[in-house]
């Protein structure tokens, strides 16, 4: 049987002050690590929730984002004839769209940030069923009217219901606020696509993308095959959900990589804290260790015992770090979406898997900080350790 764990727990309790540095080092590292991942996770979740599995987004072939794409009204007509698209009384559920970005002052800082303005079809709410008007009404076709995502209403000045804003050479009235359920649309402003083209003096027959609602999610392939094989069209067809997932990738990867670098650098510091604590524990307890070895506990038991002790320290640090970042959960922040060059609001998401990852990271630091002192403890010659008073 191994050295009882009571031995380690009581030793830790008795000498708890000498473990503080190690605990705090690990807690801080885990906190930063989890916070960074929660940031990436929140960003990704926001973009991914923008897409629906029942929707497809169609762009010109080769366009990496909506901004670079062009579709003519004629090709949009061809697209909307596809049989896989759901039909309502008003016609096929498709929304030909144009996007522009325009700077507006943030309420909090007064500085400008880019807002994505999306010209949509009057059917847009039928195509994107996850979006609901929560105040006012939807815009009227042909009018200089805006409906704004709830984050826009909250974060920028001038977007109060009934207020007017100027951009693109036109004056617009805010007639409604919509709830995009935490998606990227919450950070967007919507208006009539035709009006937006007019105001920006763009050719009236050109759009950038069309988002269509499939009769059923299973018909995506059918739609894609029909459109890509049509000789009149030169388009790429993506599931909306995948399109947004792809958009999130660059920034989530960046945050994750940065997070990993910071975590490793801090982790090295925390490991040294753990090493220091454990080495001094081993030195202070050399007589106890020698006594256990004399009684007949194997070197492996001693190594295991001190590793367990280091893991206990790390676990406490990990728990503290996780508790420290819990308040970040759902805290809204924002970042530049580099695919659209607009500012995107999203919330930290401190999920259980992230907390578990944080704890595992803490245990890893404990292990690295615990193994060398544990080995030193087990290697010390018993006879001479017993000789020392």
């Amino acid at each position: 049987m191994p050295i009882p764990i009571t031995y380690n727990l009581r030793s830790l309790r008795v000498r708890w002050t000498s473990s503080i540095v190690a605990v705090l080092g690990i807690a801080g590292t885990v906190g930063v690590f989890v916070a960074m991942l929660a940031l990436a996770q929140g960003f990704k979740a926001t973009l991914v929730s923008s897409g629906s599995s029942q929707n497809a987004i169609i762009r010109r072939a080769g366009a990496t984002s909506e901004m670079e794409s062009v579709l003519t009204r004629d090709s949009i007509r061809v697209i909307q004839d596809a049989s896989a698209i759901e039909r309502a009384s008003a016609g096929p559920l498709g929304s030909p769209e144009v996007v522009v970005i325009a700077p507006f002052p943030l309420r909090r800082t007064g500085t400008d940030a880019n807002v994505q303005i999306r010209g949509v079809s009057p059917l847009a709410l039928k195509v994107r069923s996850n979006i609901r008007i929560i105040a006012g009404r939807f815009f009227q076709s042909g009018m200089n009217e805006l409906v704004v995502g709830r984050n826009v209403a909250l974060s920028y000045s001038g977007f109060d219901l009934g207020g007017t804003v100027r951009f693109g050479g036109g004056t617009w009235t805010v007639v409604g606020v919509f709830n995009g359920e935490g998606s990227a649309f919450d950070s967007e402003v919507w208006c009539d696509a035709n009006v937006l083209n007019q105001v920006y003096q763009r050719p009236p027959n050109l759009f950038q993308s069309v988002t269509v609602r499939l009769a059923s999610p299973g018909q995506f392939r059918e739609l894609k095959d029909a459109l890509t094989s049509d000789p009149r069209l030169n388009v790429q067809v993506d599931r909306e959900i995948e399109y947004y997932e792809k958009q999130s990738r660059q920034l989530t990867t960046l945050i994750t990589v940065l997070g990993a670098i910071v975590a490793v650098v801090m982790g090295i510091g925390a490991v040294f804290g753990a090493l220091n604590t454990m080495y001094s524990a081993v030195v202070e307890r050399s007589r106890e260790i020698a006594t256990m070895r004399a009684i007949g506990f194997a070197t492996g038991s001693v190594v295991a015992s001190f590793i367990i002790e280091a893991l206990c320290i790390a676990f406490v640090g990990g728990i503290l770090g996780c508790i420290a970042v819990l308040p970040l959960n759902r805290l809204t922040t924002g970042a530049m979406n580099w695919q659209t060059f607009s500012y995107l609001a999203f919330a930290f998401r401190v999920t259980p898997p992230l907390l578990i990852a944080g704890l595992l990271f803490a245990l890893l630091m404990g292990l690295i900080g615990g193994v060398p002192p544990a080995i030193r403890a087990a290697r010390a010659p018993v006879a001479s350790a017993l000789r020392e008073l």
Partner: protein, 241 residues
């Protein structure tokens, strides 16, 4: 019977032959034990005396498998322990040796009960069997009412009793006591020596004792002096048994 001038093999429990231990301190060689011979039979109670630095602890550590000799042989109950690997030696200690230390060496964060239980954790005994053994050992040494006390809450004499209970709880082949009364006042020392004597006489334990105290040594069946690296038989104070 203990003897120090033996050659060849015998039937003794502990047979030490030509034991040498040399320490190196820089370029200096320190020949602490020089071709030392010793036979100890089961049930013997032997006291080792000698001036400080004469090698008493060194000898005890070698007999207890805590250290390895420079040369020579140590046979205990037929096992040549000098040939055991470090891992085997650890297991051998758990089965055969009960150590009693001058400073008791109790684990301060464990209760008296848990300290005494430690050697039993290395056996296959069940929890309840362990409890039985621990209680019996603690009752035998007279600290049955101190089980839940921590070492810091015990007097010196009580601490050493707990130390002795821990040494004998797993019923080792022999007890090694290195100055067990060296840190105690006269009264406590006498009580501890009473206890060790009783363990030898009533329980038939084999006891090897290192002491500076002639009164303590007197209790042993044989007193051996360590001089210039070998053992010399002193006056035999009492006949064993």
């Amino acid at each position: 019977m203990v003897s120090v001038d033996v050659q060849g093999s015998s039937n003794a429990l502990i047979q030490v032959r030509s034991l040498e231990k040399t320490y190196h301190r820089g370029s200096e060689e320190l020949h602490v034990l020089q071709r030392l011979d010793l036979d100890v039979e089961a049930g013997d109670f032997v006291a080792f005396m000698g001036p400080s630095g004469s090698g008493k602890s060194t000898l005890l550590n070698l007999l207890g498998g805590l250290d390895t000799p420079t040369s020579g042989s140590i046979k205990v109950a037929g096992d040549e322990i000098t040939r055991l690997s470090a891992g085997e030696l650890t297991q051998w200690r758990a089965r055969h040796v009960g150590f009693v230390f001058q400073m008791y060496n109790l684990i301060p964060v464990l209760t008296a009960y848990q300290n005494v239980e430690l050697p039993l954790l290395l056996t296959s005994l069940s929890r309840s069997e362990r409890r039985r053994h621990v209680e019996a050992a603690m009752a035998l040494v007279g600290v049955a009412d101190r089980m839940q006390h921590y070492p810091g809450q015990l007097s010196g004499g009580q601490g050493q009793r707990v130390g002795i209970a821990r040494a004998l709880v797993a019923d080792p082949t022999f007890l090694l006591c290195d100055e067990p009364t060296g840190d105690l006042d006269r009264k406590s020392a006498d009580e501890i020596m009473d206890l060790i004597t009783r363990l030898s006489e009533e329980q038939g334990k084999t006891v090897l004792l290192v002491t500076h105290d002639p009164l303590a040594a007197q209790r042993a069946g044989a007193v051996l002096h360590l001089e210039k690296g070998v053992l010399v038989e002193a006056a035999i104070a009492r006949t064993a048994g």
